[in-house]
Symmetry: C2
Subunit: 341 residues, 2 copies
DNA sequence: AATCACCCGCAAAACGATTTGCATGGTCCC
DNA sequence: GGGACCATGCAAATCGTTTTGCGGGTGATT
């Protein structure tokens, strides 16, 4: 750890202040009272030596590291940094720092990372498992570890979890368009049952879409549901298939913004005006959504609120111990109206 | 750290294998030879108890944590996750994990984070300081800490550093356009000497631009250099100022992609075709660059290569000790031609 | 004056690994 | 047979904290 060999220790401070290490520790932690006089001397010695307690030693004894692990699929993917940022902002206040790791959705990597983190004694884990089940994750981190899982399923998981209510934002989107007289809705989902549960977005959002259309009292036409990879080009291709038909929808909702941006391009190529000929709405509200032309109307996936909720859940769990019942948080999504719908 | 109270220790493994903890340690580390027979028994016991060494205890004794600190301005800003990813990919192989923290460019936060990380005994620090000088950073982390600073200055810093050669990509851009007959170049920089050295991009890239134009044997016209905040709208406004003139440039290079995207919009509003009437090139190659219409031609700021170099530098420094001379790495930037120029 | 309750400080035992020094028993080579 | 050497194992010290048990003062209450 590249410590200075002569970095001051609690012993050197104690010596300088003419007391025992115990007293220094108590002066710092406040676990026992220390006379104002000696505290004074101790603080002065600390100041002079520029002493900072060694957290590794402290952690070994106290079994707390004031750190958490963030285990994500890929922090280069814009969604995760936003979540991580939300987590940080809450946890930093409490003096926690965070480890962060990428799994790339690989089971072996997920396992290895979790083990490395627990071996380092983190006080909690925030994870979006891709390959492992929640139960397996729990198995790896141990029964007492505060664990919050980011995901959709509110089913039985041996962990706290936070998710988003995708249907809600989609419902807002449908309502918004219905108010403008749109009645024919299409949807572009991710690849049908792609990699095993990959991202677990597929299906969920399509289901939300069906619910939203039905809730508006409109008919959902299965032939207007298309599939593409979660990427611009896939979205463009899927949208083109939709737009080429004789009877095409008046609006296309998309399972994510990349698909929607592809759809924007397909519309432009087809010579259609957005939103007048065809309305397009995305999902997630990535930064790019506000940068394309026309600016994308989209459902915001509240990443930093998710991070915030994860952090609060960890804190709450640390506070309340492993026996408190699991806590499930679901965050609303909402429509942000820009130019494309 | 929420360890299971009865988590196996080296002692429990030793007991089960009928040897001493010393022997288990040696069997694991290979620092001394252990007979095949006893090693066998030890491994079996480890397997049965599912023993994983406690890294905190190990770190206390060995003074190594197999972890590094990544201290960035804001991991929600797309540049940093890409760097972080590059660092991870190299370091993960060696069994390192990383702490990550956001400073928001605030001096006090930079200091606090560095202290928290060093107190946790990280084996190295990768940082892009915003408010603190390299010397102050070195002061905080201590003389022996492997420290790599990401930045432009190749000047005297008490640290290893990695930076990018911005001029090179800009020179490519100018050459590319000159080849198509463009001779009149404008530039939109960030805000002039904004927040004290904020991002330190301002000026550097403008200087690179001047050098690039001069290198092509063309004249640089100061009146075609504009300033805007590093954001879309600022870029649009600055570009509008440039485009409104009677004599306007034929191409606009921008200090970052956000500005360039704003310029794209300004051009569209002015009824100008890109790239035929006005060529626009960005800088950084953020993900959005490939998502806007027309796709942005831009200079790629090789974030993940920067991360890669940082990681290798840390590893090298850990290997070679604090007395090896400082190592400076500068990475080339290059032009990626898409549609806007 | 005896009791009780605090206050304040110290010594020593953890926490769970690594590392050093020592002991034992061979083997090998003159 | 004796020295040199290696392989193998253990006991104990160590890393830098926190925490527990103990005890000597001091002041207030009976």
């Amino acid at each position: 750890m590249s410590r200075d060999p002569d970095r001051p220790s609690i012993a050197s401070v104690a010596a300088a202040a003419g007391v025992s290490p115990t007293t220094v520790s108590h002066a710092l932690s406040g676990k026992r009272t220390v006379s104002a006089d000696t505290r004074e001397r101790i603080l002065k010695a600390i100041e002079e030596q520029n002493y900072r307690p060694n957290m590794v030693a402290r952690s070994l004894r106290s079994r707390k590291t004031q750190s958490v692990a963030l285990v994500f699929v890929d922090i280069a993917n814009p969604y995760y940094p936003a979540v991580a940022r939300g987590v940080h902002d809450v946890l930093a206040i409490e003096g926690y720092v965070s480890f962060i790791g990428n799994t790339d959705g690989d089971a072996e990597t997920e396992r290895r990372l979790l083990e490395e983190m627990t071996a380092r004694g983190v006080d909690g884990v925030v994870m979006q498992p891709m390959a492992l089940s929640a139960a397996e994750v729990r198995e790896i981190v141990g029964p007492a570890m505060p664990l919050v899982i980011i995901g959709h399923e509110t089913s039985e998981m041996p962990a706290d979890c936070v998710g988003t209510d995708d249907t809600r934002g989609l419902t807002e989107a449908v309502a918004h368009l219905a108010r403008k007289g749109v009645r024919d809705f299409g949807f572009i989902d991710g690849p049908p049952e792609s990699v095993t549960g990959s991202l677990r977005l597929t299906g969920f959002r399509a289901a939300g879409f069906r619910g939203a259309v039905a809730a508006a009292g409109l008919e959902v036409r299965e032939r207007w549901i298309e599939y593409g990879p979660f990427a611009r080009d896939g979205g463009a291709a899927a949208a083109a298939r939709l737009l080429d038909r004789a009877d095409r929808p008046r609006a296309i909702l998309c399972a994510n913004d990349l698909i929607a941006i592809g759809a924007l391009e397909a519309a432009r190529r087809a010579g259609l005006r957005v939103p007048d000929d065809i309305a397009i709405v995305g999902f997630d509200d990535i930064e790019t959504a506000d940068l394309v032309t026309p600016r994308l109307t989209t459902v915001v996936n509240p990443a930093s609120a998710v991070g915030d909720a994860c952090a609060r859940t960890i804190l709450w769990r640390v506070e309340n111990g492993p026996d408190a019942p699991y806590r499930r948080t679901v965050l609303p999504t909402r429509l942000v109206v820009r130019e494309s719908a």
